[in-house]
Structures are given as C-alpha cells and as structure tokens.
Symmetry: C2
Subunit: 330 residues, 2 copies
Amino acid sequence: MDYLSVNNFLKEDMEKVKKELYSNLDSDVELVNEVAGYVLDSGGKRLRPMAIILSAGLSGYKGERSAKLGCIVEYIHTATLLHDDIIDGAMVRRGNTSANVKYGSDITVLCGDFLYSKAFINLVKDGNPEIQMILAKAANTMSEGEVFQLVKTADYNLNMEDYIKIIFSKTAVLFSSCCEIGAVLGGNNTTVKKKLKEFGKLVGLAFQMNDDILDFLGDQNITGKSTGTDFKEGKMTLPMIMLRENASKEENKIFKELITDSNFTLDKLEYIIVLMQKYDIKTKALNYVFEYVNKAKSILNSINIQHNFDNSNYKKYLEYIAEYSVTREK
Amino acid sequence: MDYLSVNNFLKEDMEKVKKELYSNLDSDVELVNEVAGYVLDSGGKRLRPMAIILSAGLSGYKGERSAKLGCIVEYIHTATLLHDDIIDGAMVRRGNTSANVKYGSDITVLCGDFLYSKAFINLVKDGNPEIQMILAKAANTMSEGEVFQLVKTADYNLNMEDYIKIIFSKTAVLFSSCCEIGAVLGGNNTTVKKKLKEFGKLVGLAFQMNDDILDFLGDQNITGKSTGTDFKEGKMTLPMIMLRENASKEENKIFKELITDSNFTLDKLEYIIVLMQKYDIKTKALNYVFEYVNKAKSILNSINIQHNFDNSNYKKYLEYIAEYSVTREK
C-alpha cells in the first residue's frame, strides 16, 4: 500500500475538501485570499482532513460534514504554520519561499488570524458544540505548547516527558482531534471516541518524532528541507535526547556546549551528526517510534463497529497512515 | 457625568469581568499567564465589556453571562492588540513597554493566539450560536481590515469610504458586536438588535476618528502617546484626509511627497501639524465626529423597551459613552 492508494480511495472526498478550502477564500481584500491561497497551494499532504474522513467512515458516517470539517482543521493547521514561520523566522516552507519572506510578517500574522476566524465561522455553522470544544481546546493547547517549546529553547537537559508534551501540543493534539471528530460524526459511544482519540494522538506523536529524526538524519534530496534546522533553532528533539543518553561523558560535555551556544555553524552540526551515526541513533530512534505506531495499530484493531456498509477499507487506510507516519522519508 | 460615574455604576459588574479575565489565565505554562496578565493589567478602559453590560441592561438582561461575554470580547480585543504591536513594531502600549519588546514577537504572537482560543472556548461554553457567529465574523473582519490598512499604507489618495472601511474593521465592528450581543442577551426583537448594533458601530467609528485626531493634535502629556505615530507608519487618517481637502495645491504637493516618502523625520511631522493648525483641522474633524455621535444618540433614544426594572440608567450611560468617544482627550 502507498500514499497514492489512500489518495485514490479518498479522491472524491478530498476533492470536496479542496473545493471547501478555496470557496471560503472570499475576502473582498484580495491580498488575504492570495496569501491564504499561496500557503494552501504549497503542497501539504492534507493528512488531517484525511484522518477525519477515514475516522468518520470507520465510525459509520458518510456525509458532507467530514469534508467541511476537514477544511476547518486544515485552516487551523495552516494558521499555525503561518504563525510558526514568524516565530522560527523560516525562509522556506515545503520547498517554497515562506509566506513571511514573500509577504512580510505583518501580512502573515494577519492571514493566520483570518484563517483562524474562518475556521471558527465554519465551526459555528456546523453547529456541533462537542466538535467546537474539541477544536477550541486543541487550538489553545497548540499555542501554549509553542510557548513551552520556546521556554525550553537550548535546554540540554530537556527530559522525555517535556519533549512529549511539546510534540503533543505541536502535532498530536490536532491529529488526535481529527480522529475524535470522526467518531463524533459517526455518533459513536464514549469508548470508540476515546480509542480513536488515543489512536490519533499516538500517530501524531510518531509523525512528529519521525519529523525530528528526518531533520537530522533524513536525505536532504528527499525531504527537500535543509538539515539540522531544529539544532539551529535550539530545539532539543528525540534524536538529540537519545544522543545525550548514548554518548560518552566527554562527548556529552562538548554536545552540551554546542546546544547552549546560540551561534550556529555547519561544523557544530557536522559534529553532532557524526556522533549520531556513531551510536546509530537513527535505528534506535525509529525503533522507539515504532512502539508508538504498534500501540496505535493495536488500539485501532480493537475497534469493532458494524455498519450497513463495508467499512474495512477505512480501517485499512487508517492503519496505513499510522505506518506512514514512521516510514515516510519526507 | 464623567467616566468615573459610569465606572461606579458598573462597579460590581466590572469586578466580575475582572475576575473572569484572570480566572481563565490558568495555563500550566506560566509564561503564557504572565504575558497575557501583563497586557490585561496595562490599564485599558474596558469599554467593550461595559458596552455589553450596558446594552444588556438596557435590553432587560441582568445575569452572569454579560460579565463572561465581557471577558470574551476583552480577550479578543487584547489578542488583536498583541498582534498589532508586532505589525506596527510598537515600542510602547498604553504607556508601558509593549509586549513584543518585553517578551519578543514570537511569544507575543502565540499569546495572542492563546487569548483567541480562550475566547473561543468560553464562547462554546456560553453556547449561543447567534453570539458565536457575531464574534467569529467580527474577528474575521478585523483581520481582513488590518490587511486592507497595510495595502493602503502611504496612499495619499485614500478616500473617505476606504478610511471608514479601515476604522470600521479596526474598532467599530467589535464595539458594534458588543452592543448587539447586549440586545441578544435581552432576547430582543430584530429592530432593537439592529439599532444597538448601529449605535455601537457609530460610537466605534467616532472613537477611532477621535483617536486619529488625538494622534496628531492631542496633548502628549494627557494622551501619554507620542505624536504622529500614524504619519510615521504611513497611515492616512481623518485629519490627514481633511488636510488634503483644505490645503492649497502647493502645500498638497509637499504633503503628498511627505506621505509617500517612508523616511520619517520630526521636521516633516512638524510641517504637517503646522498646516493642520493653519486650517483648524482639529475643529473641522471634531465637528465631523460629532455628526456620528449625534446620529448614535438619536438611534439610542429611539429605542424604547419597558422592563420590570428601571433601565433608564443604562441608556444614560450608553449615551455618555457615545459622548465620551469624542470628548475624551486620551
């Protein structure tokens, strides 16, 4: 199975999501539509809308609301990307010039706000308080988590618990919300909602962990991103924590100095990558991520819902997305 | 009547608003509470919560929701201030170091998002779709309007219609929403809602116009703000439009050059202020604002709602706020 086959299975639904994404860009201030369109066009995988549609399908829901809610979460996700670009001072996003470089950080912050408010308008239209609360709380957790990550910048001693807290806020909470929303759409009981929510959380965590591994140890020709941006920005991530736990006392002394010194050079990055290769951090870290993915899959497989239509494909593709979170190379 | 007497009349309600404002700052990321608290502490007049409480009172509603909704709009307002400070690169806000200088623009943008999402959470808790939609649309208009203002930067030819559009988005839409929400709380008919909404819009426009007048022609010792920041940021405002319409062809030629040249000097500002004094722009502009205030007052006075309690004070103080929007000197 590959990404294309999921895309194929969801083709009709994803067309609806795409239509929603653009039909809402109806501001009479043309620049707003242009900037929002620029970011939405820039080749995201739209995994979050997929997660809603697949979870909804598994839960027995087939209707128009999953595409509309898919658009809403994609707006929220895009708004956070726009604001993150300002925070990180990113030059490039998904291989294109970032919005803040192309349009300026002032326009970028406002277009983020525009997308947040569009998401909110559409949530009010959708009219389900349970889903509204899931996404309001997710947005809240995301903003808190980003601040927490900034507080922990260049913190060599960052422990695993705080790392998980950061990546939960950054990626997993929204992904988890998508899967939970699918269950809500299907009108499922609390147990199914909890299971899909937990499934999404584990997949989201795995997805971000793999992202953090690829940042150091991915193939730049495949990822299309420059290597070591997390190190450059002083973010302690999974491969760094694992390196700290594996390296010798002497190596750790140097490693600590490199983390706490805010002057980035390619030499320093090179030193860290060589150390990571020495201790085979990539394999160790990926094995760690696989534990999350396997747990996610076992939760998914414990969900048994019977419908008047065959929903086995939805489960199969959710399982694929779980696997994709760790096997993807970009 | 003065500002203190409104404050006195609303003392109990405003205490409830204050309590709400702080009880929601419960993030386990302490810095988030600190930054949000810093901005909320910085001496805003809290006119928006007042507008809700007074409009609700006039409309016959006396209950806990007006303070909760007052907190929500103050959060939305504060979030826009935080994001505006990044856009304007403001050093000072309400006489204090601005949040983006004190905490950095990364933390500031995220704390804005935090307050937006808290507002959203509380709106979902409040559970009224009509009010949710009013505020979702207001937030949307605000972000669009700010982009429109940026598009129109240094536009010497800005016409009155576009100026009104900008200040509507910037200030009037949220103020108008507050007054409309009051009417919704009172369970009033469409006519009353429309009237209070229009009243709030006119007062909001007057408020922002006066702000723009004070920016050039206010007493710096009273306003506590430095003079000419709008000119510095290339914003065409009411006194500048009026100057353009009154100055000679020769003066306008120089004026146009000063507007379009982005290099700010005190000399240039001085030239403009002297011209404004020559043509008595302050009086002319204030007369123009009074037209809005008088129209607002006449709409207010056309509202007749009878309750089982005397609501005349609510109307009296709403009228006072309308007057205050133009008479205030800071």
